[in-house]
């Protein structure tokens, strides 16, 4: 920065920075400034100088970093409510069984509503194909290098999907328990899927996702005879980070626990003002 005129022209930035804060004794009499102004001469010594606070000033911002995402999420939520759509945001680590769970929910009409799905993955439309194979409409969102869905992606996908009224819209987030917890998509409830093939301490290791969940599904219970897994410890760990979450045990492969899941979804949709 030029210590004489306070401009940010780089022509003489290097020499100015070394003398910043004290009187310069020399200054080029003719130079070109970068930001679109020229002068042939600076004020002569003794002329009023630009005050220091013009040179470096603090501007208060006070803005939430995710304000833009949150605003779009609120728009999504309004859009969903206007169309009588109940939106679920499904979070889990990769391989916990979200897609298998959705396939069975579609076939069994779990929750009592038609289901449409927004599929989030870094690459491929394999999951969307599976969902269509199960008989539901699906839109695949590929996030590329991104590790989560955001509200803008969901807005575009929901418009492309164009679900009719009284749809249960399942948003299958990118398999990841870390950052999807940060981004509101406009959903009505977050659901975390864990499985008995993972550690019982997942809720302690990834507390943000479990804390944000209204319900936690423990999937793959059909594997319990074959793995060392303490369900009670898992439930205790969920309670530790989130005392209010409902915990449901399911097997998406065999259909165990789907009566309870159906009941939970219907009750939740009724609380939202929909019909069961």
């Amino acid at each position: 920065m030029c210590a004489t005129c306070g401009c940010s022209g780089e022509d003489h930035a290097a020499s100015a920075s070394s003398t910043e804060g004290r009187e310069r004794t020399t200054h080029p009499t003719t130079h070109r400034h970068e930001r679109g102004h020229d002068h042939t001469e600076h004020p002569r010594p003794g002329a009023p100088r630009v005050p220091f606070d013009r040179q470096r000033s603090t501007i208060a911002i006070e803005r939430d970093v995710l304000a833009h995402n949150d605003e779009l999420a609120r728009e999504n939520r309004r859009w969903f409510v206007g169309r009588k759509i109940f939106a679920l945001n499904l979070l889990s680590s990769p391989g916990a069984g979200k897609t298998t769970l959705l396939e069975r929910m579609i076939r069994e009409r779990t929750g009592g509503h038609a289901i449409a799905v927004i599929e989030g993955d870094q690459a491929t439309d394999r999951d969307a194909q599976r969902i269509r194979g199960a008989g539901a409409k699906a839109v695949q969102v590929n996030t590329g290098a991104g590790c989560h869905l955001d509200a803008a992606m969901v807005a575009r996908a929901a418009k492309a999907l164009d679900p009719p009224a009284d749809t249960l819209l399942a948003i299958e987030n990118v398999g990841n328990l870390v950052c999807p917890a940060l981004f509101d998509l406009g959903e009505h409830a977050k659901l975390v899927v864990a499985s008995v093939a993972e550690g019982e301490d997942k809720p302690l290791k990834y507390p943000h996702a479990f804390r944000a969940a209204e319900a936690v599904l423990l999937n793959k219970t059909d594997l319990l005879p074959h793995v060392r897994y303490d369900v009670d410890r898992f439930v205790a760990h969920v309670r530790e980070v989130n005392p209010h979450a409902d915990v449901l045990l399911v097997s998406a492969t065999l259909g165990d626990g789907f009566v309870a899941l159906d009941r939970w979804l219907r009750a939740r949709i009724v609380r939202l003002g929909g019909s069961a």
Binding site: M1, T58, V65, C179, L182, H208
Partner: protein, 77 residues
């Protein structure tokens, strides 16, 4: 790497207000309950700020206890 989305939000907030002046310092408040790593945030900021008014700016991170994720202020020259 969700820090890049956070960085985009920070840059959005400050460059909207810089009016073409050079941003030399940005102060953000990050709560412990958010899953945001300060080192990843600094790295992302350094990379993503290139070519913007915030290129070369220092990113000061104030750690708070809750879910805060906020741009507090910036210094411009």
């Amino acid at each position: 790497m969700h820090e890049m989305s956070i960085v985009a939000g920070i840059l959005d907030a400050v460059t909207q207000r810089s009016g073409g002046r050079r941003i030399v310092r940005v102060v953000v408040e990050i709560g412990r309950m958010t899953a945001v790593l300060p080192d990843a945030l600094r790295f992302g900021f350094e990379v993503a700020s290139q070519g913007t008014d915030a290129e070369g700016a220092t990113l000061d991170i104030v750690t708070l206890l809750g879910n805060e994720l906020r741009v507090r202020e910036m210094e411009v020259v």
